[in-house]
């Protein structure tokens, strides 16, 4: 790390402005920035295989949009890291290493290919659990069943199928590239008032951190470390129709960060993402948005569970159709149905379908959550009614399957160890 970065990090540790909304562009090898900020988003320079600054420009634009549009979080900071020479190959390991060093649980990066004046942008997002604050909302849902014959309560759980998602490529044309340049130049100018015609009070300097101190009508008031302050259109890129597609990844990251921070705005962000962006995305991306929307609503204690469970189940059902071989949507449906069952009986058809789906995912993925969830399904107080078998037949079949499930759980635990 160079001396300037060391000094800056020392200044920021004792920064009177934090916790804050802030942004900083650093280098991949930098130590942690904004140690005081509770919620940090990390963006890594988009890889431009042909060289040039478009990758960094796009990354910075996305970071600014995140900063300008984030709601429902206190102490939010955006950290952008620029590649050094030689560049770091961004693999699962290196992305996680950077996320842990910066204590950022959500990381965005990507690639762009420039050809004949067009840019093709591919984005990725990764959730790094080890970098999340200890009090973060978990990225799983659960339901606890107290069994009369057992002192140990059994816990049904559903986790996400993945922690990394890809976004469908977007294309930016030459005309839009030129308008990006114009917007870019404009977005560096600080003005005295939130008006394009207002007096220029200064300019943002790359590499120097800045802090959000106000916002109105698409304008953001910034304080720059050097002492200046002024209004700037930080999120203007997001309002430009040509770049609308590129902010899908920002919206997804916002939803994820809101979820981690227990913000009730997370389902709103995911529902907006599902409406505006998800249909064009790969199935894993689309399914994950449904699951996260369902998870956020499920964990929102302000919602009436009896009323909210139907749309939650619909989200999980859609995810199940998108990922037919994955255990996660089936486990999520199981948790939602068990939770509903505490208030009113689920339908026999639903229970039978759930049993079939759980067995299929146990056979395909050998998923340990599905094993536990199936055992709970068999031990629900109304289980016999759901499977409509004579009592003796049901008890015998249940004991056989519970025996298999116990063996499976032991085997999976051994394999994990």
């Amino acid at each position: 790390m160079n001396r300037a970065a060391l000094l800056m990090s020392l200044v920021l540790i004792f920064d009177p402005l934090c916790p804050c909304q802030a942004m900083k562009i650093g280098m991949m090898s930098d130590p942690e920035w904004f140690q005081e900020a509770a919620n940090k988003l990390l963006l890594l320079e988009y890889d431009n295989s042909l060289g040039g600054s478009s990758g960094m420009q796009l990354t910075e634009a996305l970071g600014r949009m995140a900063l300008a549009t984030m709601t429902g979080l206190d102490g939010f900071a955006v950290i952008i890291l620029e590649q050094e020479n030689p560049p770091l190959r961004l693999t699962q390991e290196t992305v996680e290493m950077l996320a842990k060093r910066q204590h950022c649980p959500v990381v965005i990066w990507g690639e762009l290919y420039e050809q004949k004046g067009r840019i093709f942008v591919v984005s990725h997002l990764r959730f790094v659990a080890d970098a999340a604050p200890t009090n973060a909302h978990p990225l799983e849902i659960s339901w606890i069943m107290k069994q009369p014959e057992s002192t140990e309560p059994r816990r049904a759980t559903a986790a996400l199928p993945t922690h990394q998602i890809d976004f469908a490529p977007i294309t930016i044309s030459r005309d839009n590239l030129e308008s990006l340049d114009r917007l870019w130049n404009k977005a560096f100018i600080l003005r005295e008032a939130p008006l394009d015609s207002s007096i220029k009070t200064g300019e943002l300097t790359r590499g120097s951190p800045y802090y959000v101190i106000g916002a109105t009508n698409g304008w953001t008031k910034l304080k720059v470390r050097e002492g200046g302050e002024g209004w700037v259109r930080l999120g203007e890129l997001g309002q430009n129709e040509a770049f609308k597609e590129s902010i899908g990844v920002v919206l997804f990251a916002q939803g994820m960060m809101q979820h981690l921070a227990w913000s009730t705005e997370a389902p709103v962000s995911f529902d907006r993402y599902l409406m505006d962006y998800a249909p064009r995305q790969p199935s894993m991306n689309h399914a994950l948005a449904h699951l996260l929307s369902g998870f956020s609503s499920y964990m929102d204690s302000s919602l009436n569970r009896r009323e909210s469970i139907v749309p939650i189940k619909q989200h999980f059902e859609k995810a199940r159709l998108l990922l037919p071989n994955a255990a996660s949507p089936v486990n999520s449906l199981a948790v939602a149905l068990f939770s509903q069952e505490a208030d009113s009986a689920m339908g026999a058809m639903e229970a039978k379908q759930l049993e079939k789906d759980l067995i299929r995912t146990i056979k395909t993925e050998n998923d340990s959550d599905a094993v536990r969830n199936l055992a709970i399904l068999y031990q629900l107080p109304r289980a016999q009614d759901y499977f409509s078998s004579p009592e003796q037949t049901f008890m015998k079949a249940r004991e056989t399957n519970l025996g298999v499930l116990r063996d499976l759980e032991k085997q999976f635990t051994r394999r994990k160890q």
Binding site: T162, Q164, A168, K363, E365
Partner: protein
């Protein structure tokens, strides 16, 4: 009049130059101007060359006016030639203004360090000095003066004893960066597959699929290079990220698609290449430009099983290489399906039954990306592995109580 001092009433007469002195001065100026123009490296050099051309015009005019007697006085003769100098210089300088002469500079890297020695050629320019040698003392740096700004510049980089490649650099930064991967250097006229092991070195062959240069027809070298580079970058990154996003690259499996800069002509050579390189599969193909300028490509993947199997993609058609590579859509098709099969096999070898099954089921989902005539063969390979895994599935005895 000789010997009299000039006065306003009695002005100096014109200077009459001898033909020998006029021709001598003109030739000297012409040579100097042309030399300066040819070797110009900075805008100042161009201005100097244009000034010499204007001076040449002025000298010729001066001699012409003296010899013909059009003007009677020396002042008029001087004024006439000065006028010609200014006129020519004004006209020539306008060309500099229109072309916006400026310097482009950059650094050539070979793998992770600066290139020690290379020849760099600036392509698509009408400049004569479009070629430079990079010596160890240059630290990989080069500089060219170009007229007219461009968003991107094309270069050919020739590295002694290593090969050559064409690259495009986007002119968004003060210093252009040209990163050459020695594995992507073309060997020019070498016989295909002659030095395969030297040409396509890889650390972990079991996790690597090689992409060979496509055979081509009616395609320019730049267009072909662009296609190959985009295809290699895309397949490597997008397949890896897609598998990572499904948690299918666990336990240190580092799946990669690497470029091998030689061509494969048929399945027999493809099988030989895969065996020699000990990789599970090789990608090769054919690309052609049609009379209507549309591009057509066919990609074949030779997969080494007990016998070599060829799985072809559907025929891709595009108006340019970006459409052909499919940059505007997520990765799909035979390359992704076969990558899943390759990774599934790696998990089987490692004894990781769960991940093997999960990966092969994903390969099964992707089977539609393989061409219809090869789909049955592909499914046969995937299903045979899944059946083998089923015998080791501990959950096989679990049956629904609620009926099938």
């Amino acid at each position: 009049m000789d010997g009299q001092s000039p006065s306003p009433q009695n002005p100096k007469p014109v200077v009459k130059l001898t033909p020998f002195s006029l021709i001598g001065v003109s030739v000297g100026l012409l040579l100097a101007a042309v030399a300066l123009l040819v070797w110009a490296k900075t805008p100042q050099h161009y201005v100097g060359a244009f000034f010499l051309f204007a001076l040449l015009g002025a000298v010729v005019t001066f001699g012409f006016l003296g010899a013909t007697g059009v003007f009677k006085t020396r002042n008029s003769q001087l004024g006439g030639s000065a006028g010609v100098l200014v006129t020519i210089l004004t006209i020539l300088l306008k060309f500099i203004g229109a072309g916006e002469l400026h310097e482009i500079k950059g650094v050539v890297y070979l793998n992770e360090g600066v290139v020690p020695k290379a020849r760099i050629i600036l392509l698509e320019t009408d400049r004569l000095g479009n070629e430079q040698s990079i010596e160890p003392k240059d630290n990989g740096q080069f500089r060219f003066t170009v007229s007219g700004k461009k968003k991107e510049y094309k270069f050919r980089i020739i590295i002694p004893d290593a090969g050559e490649t064409n690259m495009i650099a986007v002119a968004n930064r003060e210093w252009l960066t040209l990163k050459v991967d020695s594995k992507t250097l073309s060997q020019g006229s070498k016989e295909p597959l002659a030095d395969l092991q030297q040409l396509c070195q890889v650390e972990n062959a079991a996790c690597t699929v090689f992409l060979f240069d496509y055979l081509h027809e009616q395609l320019g070298p730049d267009e072909l290079q662009t296609f190959q580079n985009l295809q290699a970058g895309r397949l490597d990154k997008d397949i890896r990220y897609d598998l990572e996003s499904r948690k299918l690259l666990e336990g240190g499996i580092d799946f990669r698609v690497r470029r091998c800069s030689t061509s494969i002509k048929d399945s027999l050579s493809a099988k030989a290449a895969a065996s020699t390189l000990r990789v599970p599969a090789v990608v090769w193909g054919f690309i052609k430009k049609m009379p209507d300028n549309k591009l057509v490509s066919v990609t074949t993947i030779t997969f080494l099983d007990q016998q070599a199997l060829d799985f072809a993609s559907r025929e891709d058609i595009g108006s340019d290489v970006t459409a052909l590579v499919g940059l505007e859509r997520s990765i799909q098709g035979a390359p992704l399906a076969i990558a899943a099969l390759v990774v599934g096999d790696l998990y089987i070898r490692k004894g990781n039954v769960e991940l093997a099954r999960k990966t092969l089921l994903y390969a099964q989902e992707l089977a539609n990306g393989v061409s219809p005539k090869d789909k049955a063969d592909f499914m046969k390979v995937v299903n045979s592995r899944l059946e083998g895994l089923e015998a080791r599935n501990p959950a096989v005895h679990l049956q629904p109580i609620g009926g099938p």
